[in-house]
Amino acid sequence: METKAFQKIYTKITRITKATCSLRATGVGNEELATVDGKLAQVVKIQGDEVTLQVFSGTEGIPTNAEVVFLKKSPTLKVGEQLAGRFFNSFGEPIDGGPVVEGEEREIGGPSVNPVRRKQPSELIATGIAGIDLNNTLVSGQKIPFFADPDQPFNQVMATVALRAQTDKIILGGMGLTNDDYLYFKNTFSNAGALNRIISFVNTTEDPPVERLLIPDMVLTAAEYFAVDKNERVLVLLTDMTSYADALSIVSNRMDQIPSKDSMPGSLYSDLAKIYEKAVQFPEGGSITIIAVTTLSGGDITHSIPDNTGYITEGQLFLRRDSDIGKVIVDPFRSLSRLKQLVIGKKTREDHPQVMNAAVRLYADAANAKTKLENGFDLTDYDERALAYAKDYAEHLMAIDVNLNTDQMLDVAWDLFGKHFTSTEVNIRQDLVDKYWRK
């Protein structure tokens, strides 16, 4: 950040807290950027001539006579085709040793899309994973998180989905990513030969936490450039949104705001919605699809972060280790894709909706049978068959290592119905049974 001749330099800070500092200054705009002792900061409060700045990397070592320079702009990103294949930090500065990107400078965190200018999402995103394509079909323009405990392989599944999906750009936003996970993504994408369509903005656990608040806006500004200006299909990966929300609570706490549930700021819902609602399908063909990760603590989805997320996103995906087959599966009970209704049975085969529901219902019967078994009760013949079915269903359909197209998945499901049940037990519309039941 070079200092321009006409810029006024302030050198008298009146108050310093862990994350903010205040000084007397005039002609300052709300949300304007400044540097404090060379560190980037943003205006968060103006009261008369007292201006409060939030210093992204923390206020350690800032003296009261530090130089403060206002930059006359809010945070921006330079956008252009050159972004492709590059790695950046929270401020949009390259971290891969490459040159600074030249291009049009855009304010991040810009306005929302007018809802009447959106198109209803209708393009299926095929991943080959039956737990997703069969039960929780993804659609372009959708926003959906993985709700997962930290020990689950969500980053792997997310990388698989990203690489299998038909998209023009993949933009990764890493917030509080461990260095190991950062390298995992980098290697996976480069091994797949996909680096040229990937852009990454990364804040690792080594960086100050407050900096990561800029990541989603950086990522989405880049995404909007490709989706709006270039009509491209953009897939955005955000991991981990829990780290982002934690950073929000740190800031709100230091700003003396009254915390609501789980010490989160009262504005958590709106803060998260502003990010997730950037997912959009444009009539001209461009789209932004967001797949995020929200890590849970001990699977608790009533915590404020997953709870608010669930109300914003269009469904959620749960991973679970299935003890019958010893593999990770996409949990058919708790996972949900709200937009699947727009494509299943329309872009996929007609029997898709009913087969999907019947398969899950029968899997639920198996869960009931398992409870009976655990309580030491005798099982009926139906219970035994349901249990056998559940094992097959997990192994051949729900496991995350499955890679089939949807027609194949439906065929497998009919095979399993025929193997374990009679046609009246599956509760499917008669005309579909007549057509697809395995004789």
């Binding site: 009261q47 008369g48 549930k261 819902y269």
Partner: protein, 584 residues
Amino acid sequence: MSTKGIVKGIISNLVTVEADGPVMQNEIAYIQLGDTKLMSEVLKITGNHAFVQVFESTRGLQVGDKVEFTGHMLEVTLGPGLLSKNYDGLQNDLNKLTGIFLNRGEYNFPLDKKTLWHFVPLASPGDVVEAGSWLGQVEENHQPHKIMVPFAFEGTYTVKSVAKEGEYTIMDTIAVVTDADGKDIKLNMIQKWPVKKAINIHSEKPRPFKLLETGVRIIDTVNPIVEGGTGFIPGPFGTGKTVLQHAISRQAEADIVVIAACGERANEVVEIFVEFPRLDDPHTGRKLMERTIIIANTSNMPVASREASVYTAMTISEYYRAMGLRVLMMADSTSRWAQALREMSNRMEELPGQDAFPMDLSAIIANFYSRAGYVYLKNGETGSITFIGTVSPAGGNLKEPVTEGTKKAARCFYALEQSRADHKRYPAVNPIDSYSKYIEYPEFESYISEVISPQWTSLVNDMKTILQRGKEVNEQINILGDDGVPVDYHVTFWKSEVIDFTILQQDAFDKVDAVTSLERQHYMLNLVMDICNADFEFAGFVDVMDYFKRVINVLKQMNYSAFQSPEFNAYETDLKNILAEKTI
């Protein structure tokens, strides 16, 4: 001269303004930021400082920026041409806004000034009129749209002249009235009204009693809502709140539907934009969009106008009610509105109540729900606003302030339940915890015995008893084991399952099953209750399950077939044969 001011402080969208004259609580002020004006509302006044909430982003705003107070509160413009419009929370016509993105400071006039309306006078010179009196009517999307004496008028007026039948724009004078002092006032087709004030121009507000048909069995049959009634749908995410709400707004027998999409997903609003112009109103055969007004303030749109959006929707509903129409208003979700109140109250450093919500939250909710209702207008006609709100309880916990506050105000409670949703038993309304207070109204009972049957209420009661009994028995079976209870217990449980699968569960995405006429609901309930009242004989519990699964399967096939079609009748014959096997 209007009051002016300058910006003194900014925290997020709360701005302190030093005013040079009188300021009114809730007054609208515009803040000049470069070439654009940002709309804001006064929330608090201390001395000559007004605290205003800005309805847009305050990025770039500086101390010293100029402010202009307007002298009025947040208002909506009422007149012909509201129907089929998509508005934001401040009544800007979204279709008129240019560009892909919502640029701040862009406001527009909500109606069309050039459209010609065919006006037919209803009043004559010499008539004595008051606020809300009908002067004439125009046809708006095949509905009679009454042109009324502005609601803000106090006392009585004498009609001096009314325009002749013909084509007029909303700006043309259609009547002249004379006030008590002999002053003539020209009236056109539009009027303004502050959204936070209820429009009270009716003569009486009786207890509502007329069933509002929604085509959703778990509502109409089990816990009915009435014209002018209030209801709410709380539920954790993923339990189908929005699907249920959309089904009601598509199918309900109302003249006008006002949908306030308040702080929810944009794609859900887009779904309405796409489907409503295409789908037919099941009652009139016209397109659904013709009777619908959408107020969209989705979750990424400015938080401050979220609160405004529900009031805007309610005021428009009241306007149509005053024309003697049946209005259905839906708000999804009232929790987001409460959260917007919380954010503001927090920034104003008010002492927080439970979960940091403002202390007067439940009073605000109760006051809002009270604006719905069935009314007798002063000319003897009736009109109604049926209001259904959804609530998104944090963590699915129904003991949180918004749910509790709403429970006190709304008369119908449709509790969506996670476990029913997990088992794909949609709509996931818990039949036992949910209630409709209207069932207890004698007015409702006499109405229902006339339109359906005198036995209806007791039949529904019997059904609920079986559901309750089925639930208890199921718990016992789970504790004692299948063979630890008499075979009868299994029969009771499976009878409740027959009700669950046939009456309660309904496929909102199936063409036939999605909407069930009252006649069909009556027919199916009789059929199912005949099964439940029959005695069966079984050798063991395994037979019970197998047998009832067959019964359920046939009943489901009936639900998927057009009412009294050949397939439907064939399945019914199948059912009779199955029943004949085991009944005694």
